[in-house]
Symmetry: C2
């Protein structure tokens, strides 16, 4: 009864006020007893130095990438100004989903899709663009697959007055003209990759004429373009330590909103591709757990087609298919792994954030896989009651949260479940169409394919 009264007073959407917007990012690494292993220079096998990294990233980015000590990094005022355009984002009490599932569990989701980029990617794009600009540099290069990261970066560059050069995987460039036009509207220069504009692009085109490109190839082109253009730096949307840091804003806001209503989560769930959303969402909760102040279950959800945590190996591997970037110690399926055509493009990464990898290795977080047909069924059910059409990536977390809540219906446990709803699916309607037409299939990964890829892992 007491609990029911509480529930009535809880708003559907918990909006923090602008003055409650966090002033600092939380650097989880500072509280990790075992730090993530250092990046290695692929040529020497030695840990990369800040001098080496500064050829590619801006100085502040390098500092953040290597900082395992300071728990709080202040958010510069201009970045907070930009955050105010779309943050604090709402924490939603999913009461209609609870009713649909007839569960005693309470479900909350942190919605990061209420901005034009349609996802949480903007949180790191804003920070990275600002630091490049503040260093007096001219522009940035990056790669994009489906286009969410490229869109976010274009928006941030338009805001801070920075040039933005995006290498977009050629098949996506051709199949997703809308995404391309959003980036162009924000002033970005979008080049289909592979292209004639870089040495590596020309080499690949000569070798594979007519190729549709790949993310690995686009990374190589973007990196080359950054180091060969004066005043340019390369930026990346996931996996990196600095990206985890910027994304901690998700978790900090989530915790502030829950604290405001005296709610303690039992389970925190997020989808994991490179890990930026999950890493950000769990950051302050994992910190409290590591410091022994609280305990939470934290679950990474990944597709059966690309199961880095659940079937990968914890080892040093290349971060890119082209093997030109540093090596990271992480859960990996091998940099030569080619995932099946899973519709959640943002989860098709062979590796995983070194921070999250270490946490998983140390049993601080769990992981599970879900099949894409059950993911889309969850997405559809969620959309119909909660109104938001979710991105396929985010829907992995919805699936897992619904499964948890259905388990609570069986056991009668009143768990409090929090999950990250990273973005919207407006540009994923081809995938929904396949699902709506009953044409979607699951994409299990055979032991044979996996073993072959893992056998090619480098020895470091």
């Amino acid at each position: 009864m007491q609990q029911d009264r509480e529930m009535k007073e809880l708003p559907y959407k918990i909006f923090l006020e602008e003055k409650e917007l966090p002033c600092a990012w939380y650097n989880l690494r500072a509280d990790m007893p075992v730090k993530p292993a250092p990046l290695l220079n692929p040529a020497t096998g030695e840990p990369v130095t800040s001098q080496e990294l500064e050829k590619v990233f801006c100085s502040e980015g390098v500092r953040q990438e290597l900082d395992d000590e300071h728990p709080w990094i202040p958010i510069p005022e201009p970045v907070r100004d930009f955050y105010r355009v779309y943050r604090p984002s709402p924490l939603v009490h999913a009461e209609f989903l609870e009713k649909l599932l007839d569960t005693p569990a309470r479900i909350f989701y942190k919605f990061e899709g209420n901005n034009t980029s349609g996802s949480h990617k903007l949180n790191s794009a804003a920070a990275q663009a600002y630091f490049v600009k503040a260093q007096g540099l001219k522009g940035v290069t990056t790669e994009t697959g489906a286009g969410q990261w490229g869109t976010a970066l274009s928006m941030a560059c338009a805001f801070f007055g920075l040039e933005c050069k995006v290498y977009m995987v050629k098949v996506s460039y051709e199949q997703k003209p809308f995404r391309r036009e959003v980036m162009r509207t924000y002033g970005a220069e979008v080049t289909p990759s592979p292209s004639e504009t870089t040495q590596v692009g020309r080499k690949i085109l000569a070798e594979f004429p007519g190729t549709g490109g790949s993310l690995g190839c686009a990374i190589s082109e973007a990196a080359e373009a950054a180091v060969t253009r004066p005043g340019y730096r390369y930026v990346l949307g996931s996996a990196l330590n600095q990206v985890m840091l910027h994304q901690s804003i998700i978790g900090l806001e989530t915790k502030a909103a829950l604290d405001k209503y005296g709610i303690t989560p039992d389970v925190i769930i997020g989808c994991a591709g490179g890990g930026s959303n999950l890493g950000g969402l769990i950051a302050p909760f994992a910190g409290a757990k590591l410091r022994g102040e609280a305990d939470y279950r934290m679950i990474a959800v990944e597709p059966v087609s690309c199961p880095s945590f659940t079937r990968g190996r914890f080892a040093y591997d290349y971060c890119d298919t082209g093997r030109i970037c540093p090596l990271a110690k992480m859960y990996t399926l091998g940099s030569s792994f080619m995932p099946a055509p899973e519709h959640a493009g943002g989860l098709r990464y062979h590796g995983m954030s070194p921070v999250l990898s270490q946490l998983y290795h140390d049993h601080v977080i769990e992981a599970r896989t879900v099949r894409q047909t059950e993911v889309f069924a969850a997405a559809r059910d969620f959309a119909r009651v909660e109104g938001i059409l979710p991105a396929p990536e985010s829907s992995h977390a919805i699936r897992a949260a619904m499964d948890e809540a259905l388990e609570c219906r069986k056991t009668g446990r009143r768990e409090t479940i929090v999950f990250g709803l990273t973005g919207t699916g407006y540009f994923d309607m081809k995938a929904y169409e396949r699902f709506n037409n009953g044409e979607m299939q699951d994409l299990p990964l055979s032991d044979e394919v996996l073993t072959e890829s893992l056998n090619r892992l480098p020895r470091f």
Copy 2:
């Protein structure tokens, strides 16, 4: 100085709390000294009766359509529940746009695009779906052109458990498969119009084999489907009095948010196609003006290609191209008017809300036209500083607001400008592409074409 301190304390986004969500819609007609003229039965030329209207609309819809007396109509709790999913919507202080324009004016916009339908249409869809459901009926039919209204209605029907049959103009059905799939994901049945499923559709197909359809034809099919299917009613997304009523929630929230910070607008601006957004936004302000309590300038913005207010005639005309619906007294370009292929599909309507038409006739509101290239230039500039990629329709209001603010820069006046940002442009990227490529043209309307259309107006 005092003013500057005030500005600092003003948040970028003014969010009302959920408990501040209005409990009643405001019926502006109750405060109009001259009421909008009654709808006429096309067969008899007499005012339509509620009995006649109840064949097409649900009972509560009919009551609201004809109510010129009661200023406040309570919002049923289930509709307020649905509103809580995406409302109150933010009123944004466009400080970055002000800076870009270097204007002494203060600019605010009410953003209605933060929901999956991408526009304000959901406000009336929720109400209409609920009243049909509450009457114990089975489903609704409607037409949709570009798909925004159809999406909104699909979402509302999914939420309230109602069947939803959408006739979508065939060219849009084929060219906008993403919109179609959103509706299908929400459980709607989407039929390209003209179709074989109705008598009028078969007739049109026989006469014009291979036609791409039109909104007029889709209306006819939807209306026929509603009256021939037991338990079905027809619903419409704009122009109707009941739609203006539901959309008053936009203006009520806007006024509540402004009042909270002691801000009084000088100018209120909205785009106008059928008039639902503008009518909703200005409702409480126009009411105060009509009651002599306050004065505001209120501006309707329309495309030069479809200038109902500025070049139309105030006369009785058919609401639909097929001439099967009642006649309304309104500013009209003639029901046979075919607008040029303007990219703001939602503004390509030959007529105008009878409520707004009467207000314009009585000099309570003003109107002006803008050209689509200058509209897209405003959209681009707005997107780059304010982050939101606006719908072409909404960008008409942005253009006019920017022009007002630039005028203030010349005169030094510190006007407070409020405009309605009705929605997002994610599904309009083909139009943006034409603009980005420099291929967009303005679409002036010749006197000849207009005169020919006006000469065909019916005599009532």
